[in-house]
C-alpha cells in the first residue's frame, strides 16, 4: 500500500474543491495541500454550468435584496445567518475570479455585465456568455497550477474516510491508472464531491455525480441535512436531459403548452408581459415552474413525445443576434443534440432533476460534526438554499464556502498533530474489503445496470416532483431490497488497470445509500415546502417543520432522523409571492 501525508486534503477538484485548495495555500503557504479527484479537475461537473453566478455589484441593488430573494426562494428553510454571510462575501469572491482572469461578459464600457435570473428581483447574475461554469472552472484550475504547495491526485477514486479517535485523518483511494490502493493521510479533509443527480433516471447531472461525498460522510457517522429537497429544473431536453439554461428565459423566452399558451399565468405566477418581468412568470422559481408542468400534464395540455411529455420553450422572438451573443451554447446544444435551430423552432423541454439542496450538514465555516472534516459546494448543506435553490446561487456558493472551508481547514491543520498510525491499519482493512467484495469476487449474479435502473425508477416514483406517504414508504422498501440484491452484484472485470466497472459498482453503492436518505427524509416530513411537495400534506407547516432534517446512519444500515430549528435573523416566515 502506498502511504502519503499532507496537511489539508481536498476530495474533489470542481469549483468548490479548487477554490478551497487555493484558499488553504493563501492562508498558510507552508501547508501541504492534496487535491484528490476521480476525474481530472477540468472534467468536474462545474464545467457544465451555463447561466451564471449571482453577486450584488450594481448600484441599484443591495445585499438585503439578494438575501431576501434567497430566503423567500428557499421557502424560509435557509439559515439566515448563512445567507447573510453568503451575500456579503459573494461580490468579493466574484471579483477575485475576475482578477484571476475569468472572461466575464462585459458592458460596453468594460464593467461587469449582469443578467436577470429566476426568483431574483434585481439583475445580479454575472455570466460568461452561457458557459459560466466552464469558464469559472478553467480559470480556477489554471490559477491553481501556480501554487506549488498543491499536489494533485488526478483520477484517484476515494472509497473511505479514515477516522480515528473521533477525528478524520485521511482517505483511502484507488489510483485508477494502476489499481493501487493508497492511504492518503491528512490533518484536515474537505469534501467537495458535488451532487447526486444520477440517483434519478432523468437528470442534467454528469455521469460522475453519484453522491460519493454524501455517502462517505454518512458512513462515517456524519449527519446529512435536508436530503428531501431535490431540485427539478423546468427546462431539460427530452431524452438527453441536457439543460437549457434559465438564461434562455431571463433573456425573454416563453414557456408554452400545446395550445401555444403561456400556462404559468394559471399558477399564481403573474400575468404575461412581452418582456421578462423579474420574479414573475417564466422568471419564477424552479420548484413552482416544475410543479406547474405536472399540473399541465394532468390537464392534458402537454405534448407527447417518444421521450415523455414536453412543453415548448420559445426564444424565436429574441432574434438571431441576441441568441448568438447571449445564448450561443443553447443554440449549439439544440442544433447538435436535438437537431433543431432555436432561431426558427421551439425547443421541447420537460422538468429534469438538477440540483441537491441537501447534503453534508455543516456550520458557517463548512465544518461538519466530525472533527477535521469540512464540506463545501453541492455536497454540503450550510444551508443557504433552503427548500429550493435559486439559479445562479450555487456557483457563487462554491466560491464563498469553498474559501471559508479552505481557511477554516488551514487554521485547524496549522495547530493539529500529524495523523496517527492506527489509520494505516484501517486503510489495510479497506484494501482487503475492496479485494474481497469486488476485485476477486466471481460469484455475483445481479447486474450493475439493472440494480441502478431499478433504483432510479424507484426514487423517481417515490420521491419525484409530487410525493405521498404511501409511495415513499413503498420506495423505502424497494430500496432496502435493492441494497440486499446489491450484495450479490456481479463483477466481470478483475483487472487493476483503469477498471471502470469497479468504479461503477462503488458509485452504485454510494447512490443506494444516498437514495435511502432522500426517501427516509421525505417520508418523515409531513408538509409541503419548496421542492418537497406532499399531496397528502399540501400545506407548509411552520409549527412543526421550520426545521432542518438531519439523517444519521445506524450501525445496522438503517437510519434515524433528528430536527434542527432553522436560523431566522431578519426575515420572519411569510408567504412566497411571485408575479406581483
Amino acid at each position: 500500500m502506498d502511504i502519503s501525508s499532507h496537511d489539508v486534503l481536498l476530495v474533489g477538484g470542481g469549483g468548490a474543491g479548487l477554490r478551497a485548495a487555493i484558499a488553504v495555500s493563501e492562508t498558510n503557504p507552508k501547508l501541504k495541500v492534496a487535491v484528490v479527484s476521480k476525474v481530472y479537475p477540468m472534467r468536474s461537473h462545474t464545467v457544465s454550468a451555463e447561466g451564471g453566478a449571482a453577486a450584488v455589484i450594481k448600484s441599484n441593488d443591495s445585499l438585503d435584496e439578494h438575501a431576501y430573494d434567497t430566503v423567500s426562494g428557499g421557502d424560509w428553510m435557509s439559515d439566515q445567518d448563512a445567507v447573510e454571510a453568503f451575500v456579503k462575501e459573494a461580490p468579493e469572491e466574484m471579483l477575485r475570479l475576475e482578477h484571476w482572469g475569468c472572461p466575464w461578459s462585459r458592458e460596453p464600457d468594460g464593467h461587469i455585465a449582469v443578467r436577470p435570473f429566476g426568483g431574483m428581483k434585481k439583475e445580479r447574475t454575472w455570466f460568461a456568455a452561457d458557459k459560466t461554469g466552464f469558464h469559472m472552472l478553467h480559470t480556477l484550475f489554471q490559477t491553481s497550477l501556480k501554487y506549488n504547495a498543491i499536489t494533485r491526485y488526478d483520477e484517484f477514486f476515494v472509497t473511505k474516510l479514515l477516522v480515528d479517535g473521533g477525528r478524520v485523518q485521511g482517505v483511502v483511494a484507488i489510483e485508477l491508472m494502476s489499481g493501487k490502493i493508497h492511504a492518503i493521510l491528512a490533518k484536515a479533509v474537505i469534501l467537495c464531491t458535488g451532487g447526486c443527480g444520477r440517483v434519478f433516471p432523468f437528470t442534467t447531472n454528469a455521469n460522475i455525480k453519484n453522491g460519493d461525498g454524501m455517502a462517505l460522510a454518512y458512513r462515517a457517522g456524519v449527519p446529512l441535512k435536508d436530503m428531501e429537497f431535490v431540485q427539478y429544473h423546468p427546462t431539460g431536453l427530452p431524452f438527453t436531459g441536457i439543460l437549457i439554461t434559465e438564461a434562455a428565459r431571463s433573456e425573454g423566452g416563453y414557456l408554452l403548452n400545446k395550445d401555444g399558451y403561456r400556462y404559468l399565468q394559471d399558477y399564481n405566477l403573474g400575468t404575461p408581459q412581452p418582456k421578462p418581468v423579474l420574479r414573475s412568470m417564466e422568471l419564477g422559481p424552479r420548484d413552482r415552474l416544475s410543479q406547474a408542468f405536472v399540473k399541465e400534464m394532468e390537464k392534458g395540455r402537454t405534448i407527447d413525445t417518444p421521450y415523455g411529455p414536453v412543453v415548448h420553450l420559445d426564444i424565436r422572438h429574441l432574434g438571431e443576434k441576441i441568441i448568438n451573443t447571449k445564448l450561443p451554447f443553447v443554440r449549439e446544444l439544440c442544433l447538435k443534440y436535438q437537431n433543431i435551430d432555436p432561431i426558427k423552432e421551439m425547443i421541447p423541454v420537460r422538468p429534469v432533476v438538477h440540483y441537491m439542496m441537501g447534503g453534508v450538514h455543516t456550520d458557517l465555516n463548512a465544518a461538519t460534526a466530525l472533527t477535521g472534516l469540512y464540506a463545501a459546494g453541492e455536497v454540503a448543506c450550510v444551508s443557504i438554499n433552503g427548500a429550493n435553490r435559486l439559479g445562479s446561487n450555487s456557483l457563487t456558493e462554491l466560491l464563498v464556502f469553498g474559501a471559508r472551508a479552505g481557511k477554516a481547514a488551514a487554521a485547524f491543520a496549522s495547530e493539529t498533530a500529524e495523523p496517527g498510525s492506527h489509520v494505516v491499519a484501517q486503510a489495510m482493512d479497506e484494501q482487503r474489503r475492496l479485494e474481497r467484495q469486488f476485485l476477486s469476487k466471481t460469484d455475483g449474479r445481479e447486474s450493475i445496470a439493472t440494480i441502478r435502473e431499478e433504483m432510479q425508477a424507484t426514487i423517481e416514483k417515490g420521491a419525484g416532483i409530487y410525493r405521498t406517504g404511501d409511495l415513499l414508504a413503498q420506495a423505502a422498501q424497494n430500496l432496502r431490497r435493492l441494497q440486499e440484491r446489491f450484495q450479490n452484484v456481479a463483477i466481470t472485470d478483475h483487472s487493476y488497470t483503469f477498471n471502470t466497472e469497479l468504479t461503477a459498482v462503488l458509485e452504485l453503492a454510494f447512490m443506494l445509500d444516498v437514495a435511502e436518505t432522500i426517501v427516509q427524509s421525505a417520508l418523515q416530513r409531513s408538509e409541503s415546502r419548496g421542492a418537497h411537495q406532499r399531496t397528502d400534506f399540501p400545506k407548509r407547516d411552520d409549527e412543526k417543520y421550520l426545521a432542518h432534517s438531519l439523517i444519521y446512519r445506524n450501525e445496522d444500515g438503517s437510519s434515524r432522523l433528528e430536527y434542527l430549528p432553522v436560523t431566522i435573523t431578519r426575515w420572519p416566515p411569510a408567504e412566497r409571492v411571485y408575479g406581483k
Binding site: 476525474v39 481530472y40 477540468m42 472534467r43 468536474s44 461537473h45 464545467v47 457544465s48 468579493e92 471579483l95 477575485r96 475576475e98 482578477h99 484571476w100 482572469g101 472572461p103 466575464w104 461578459s105 462585459r106 460596453p108 464600457d109 468594460g110 464593467h111 461587469i112 458557459k131 466552464f134 469558464h135 478553467h138 489554471q142 490559477t143 497550477l145 501556480k146 488526478d154 491508472m177 454528469a206 455521469n207 460522475i208 431524452f239 438527453t240 441536457i242 439543460l243 449549439e332 446544444l333 447538435k336 443534440y337 447486474s447 450493475i448 445496470a449 456481479a490 463483477i491 466481470t492 472485470d493 483487472s495 487493476y496 488497470t497 483503469f498 477498471n499 471502470t500 466497472e501 461503477a504
Partner: protein
C-alpha cells in the same frame, strides 16, 4: 431503417494482451444515439469490462475524445446515424499511449498545459477593493475564442507534427498561452514567449492546420500558433537590432 449497427471497438487489457485487438459488438440502432450511447449500451448490457472516459454527455467536459472511423471526435457529439450502415470503428485517441481499451495516458498533455503558465501574470496586482479590471467587449473578443478550449486533446490526435515528435508543445497548449497573452489584464507575454520560442515550443508547427479543422469548439489553435510565430519572429529580430529593447 436499420435495427442494429455494429461497432468494432479497440480492446487492450495490459494484463491480458500484449497488443490491442478489435472486438465486434452489435447494438440497437437509434437515430438519437451518439457513439457514446452505444458504448454505454455495451458496458451496461454486453461487456462490463469495456473501459473509457466520459462524464457530461454535452460536449463540454472534454473527456470522451476517441477515434471514430479514423477521425478524432467527441463521442458524445457524434451520432451513430452519420455512419449508417456501419460498421463503426472506435479506437483510443491517436498519438497517445493507451492505458486500457479506449482510455489514453494524459500526463504529457497536462504537463504541457501547465508549462505555458496559464494564469494571469502581473507586475502589480490591483487590490480587490478597487474593483474589476475594465475590459471592453472588443478586448474580450481578442482572446475569447482561445478561451473556449475544453482540453479534449482532439487537436493533438489530428496533429501530424505531434505524431512525429512528442516534444512539440502542441495546439491546445499554444492556444492557451495565447488566450492569456491576448487578455488585456495579463502582462506575462514576454515570460511566456521566452519559454515558447525554443524549438519544441512553436517552431515545430508546419502550418498544416489539421488542429483547427478537427477542433470541436472552434478554438482555432492554428490561428493562435500563427499569431505566436509572428510575434516571436519579430521579437527575435528586434533582439538583434536593439538587445536592450526587450525588458
Amino acid at each position: 431503417m436499420i435495427d442494429t449497427i455494429t461497432l468494432e471497438v479497440a480492446r487492450y487489457r495490459p494484463e491480458q494482451e500484449t497488443e490491442p485487438t478489435f472486438e465486434r459488438f452489435e447494438v440497437p440502432f437509434n437515430k438519437d444515439w451518439v457513439v457514446l450511447d452505444a458504448l454505454n449500451y455495451i458496458k451496461d448490457r454486453l461487456d462490463g469490462s469495456l473501459s473509457y472516459r466520459w462524464s457530461c454527455r454535452m460536449g463540454v467536459c472534454g473527456s470522451c475524445g476517441m477515434m471514430v472511423n479514423g477521425e478524432p471526435k467527441l463521442t458524445c457529439a457524434t451520432f451513430l446515424s452519420k455512419y449508417v450502415p456501419g460498421p463503426i470503428r472506435v479506437e483510443p485517441l491517436r498519438y497517445f499511449p493507451v492505458v486500457r481499451d479506449l482510455a489514453v495516458e494524459m500526463t504529457d498533455f497536462m504537463d504541457k498545459l501547465k508549462s505555458v503558465k496559464p494564469w494571469i501574470i502581473r507586475q502589480e496586482e490591483r487590490p480587490l477593493s478597487e474593483g474589476e479590471y475594465l475590459q471592453t467587449p472588443v478586448q474580450l473578443d481578442n482572446y475569447k475564442q482561445f478561451s473556449m478550449c475544453i482540453n479534449c486533446m482532439i487537436c493533438y490526435a489530428a496533429c501530424p507534427v505531434y505524431g512525429l515528435d512528442h516534444h512539440f508543445i502542441g495546439p491546445a497548449a499554444l492556444a492557451l498561452a495565447q488566450r492569456y497573452n491576448m487578455d488585456s489584464r495579463d502582462q506575462g507575454t514576454d515570460e511566456r514567449l521566452d519559454l515558447l520560442s525554443q524549438h519544441e515550443g512553436i517552431w515545430g508547427c508546419t502550418f498544416v492546420g489539421e488542429c483547427t479543422k478537427a477542433c470541436p469548439k472552434n478554438v482555432d489553435p492554428a490561428g493562435a500558433i500563427q499569431q505566436y510565430k509572428l510575434k516571436a519572429a519579430t521579437e527575435w529580430f528586434k533582439s538583434f537590432l536593439m538587445p536592450w529593447g526587450r525588458k
